[in-house]
Symmetry: C2
Subunit: 233 residues, 2 copies
Amino acid sequence: MFTNYNKTLPEQTADKIIQYIIENNLQVDDKIPNEFELGEILDVGRSTVREAVRILVTRNILVIRRGAGTYVANNTGVSDDPLGLAFAKDKYKLANDLLHVRIILEPEIAAMAANMANERDIEVITKQCDKVEALIKQGENHMLEDVKFHEAIARCTGNDVIEKLIPIINTSVAVFANITDRQLREETITTHRAIANAIAKHNSTDAKHAMTMHMLYNKYKIYELIDKKENSN
Amino acid sequence: MFTNYNKTLPEQTADKIIQYIIENNLQVDDKIPNEFELGEILDVGRSTVREAVRILVTRNILVIRRGAGTYVANNTGVSDDPLGLAFAKDKYKLANDLLHVRIILEPEIAAMAANMANERDIEVITKQCDKVEALIKQGENHMLEDVKFHEAIARCTGNDVIEKLIPIINTSVAVFANITDRQLREETITTHRAIANAIAKHNSTDAKHAMTMHMLYNKYKIYELIDKKENSN
């Protein structure tokens, strides 16, 4: 794939298993042939197959269910931390950098969603908006449902790369750079609703503006927190 | 990290090794302690350490140099195919989806680069622009150097997420969705140079426009190729 080094036999076999999954149109949760069968199909030994499967499990392409077999994993091929953000040293800078990328991407995505959303999409987005609002009002943690709201919008675009990218960026915010946690409660309720309504009306300009507003509330909140931190040092 | 399943001991140990790298401020190409020492430090057996290291090698966090030891990998933590694009079925749709994300991101990044670039950055970008131009004129494959041109611009922004993201997206284009290969030769030379010059002059508007033009040449070339393909079916 990306790197140019000479691949080992297990790595080559891993690539061949990916090819097999694609060619046989296997979907998430489909079972793949067992070690013995894969060895026959790909003409390699069982220990090579085992090593290749291990590589694909680590890459979240396959999942082993003990006693049941090996299956195609959910969110196929996206690892735990695809951007390698676990290595970021300054959480505040990371929060800011991630948000900057969201400021560039998400308003355009909201506009695309407004153009593309069908009735079913609108229903999903509206329900997810209700869910986040209810959690905020109950004082519960809404981070995970909030990520799902943005994912639902990303899915409307029909763009496979956006669909993969937005969960990565938003989950990274939640996991590695969660510094505005449960602040901006009123602002989140208001701007989420404005985004959902604009998408429901297929108004791409309003959707883009509402998403921009939502992002910028976060931007200035992060600046405020960075200022506070620096003054307290 | 992202997933919520209960982690196995080797996976937990892998997380602890990451923590060790961060806490000891180890950089790319730094050597990590050997299996025996890591086992002592993390209080686990050698076979667990070995398994954990294997996981981190697959995730491109560590690299084993035979006979020399285990080192922190280059482009730490970014795997071969972080977006899982090897599973895309329609190369033309993937090319289009990837380009759409670039159309959203890269003009903004070029503008940021124009604002932020120092003399050294400008020198690197200009030299990389020369290199791509020379390859195109010689009729050589310029894809890899072209990716490096866009990476050099992304690095000027000082945004760690953009720095990680742009190589992923551009290399994905080169590896998985290379359908405009070595076309648009004159257009690439002209727009690359306009981007480099605008960044050198710290003119963010011009940098953004030149990058937009560069992207849109590609967009309409992809449409042309999709049309041609559909008509030939």
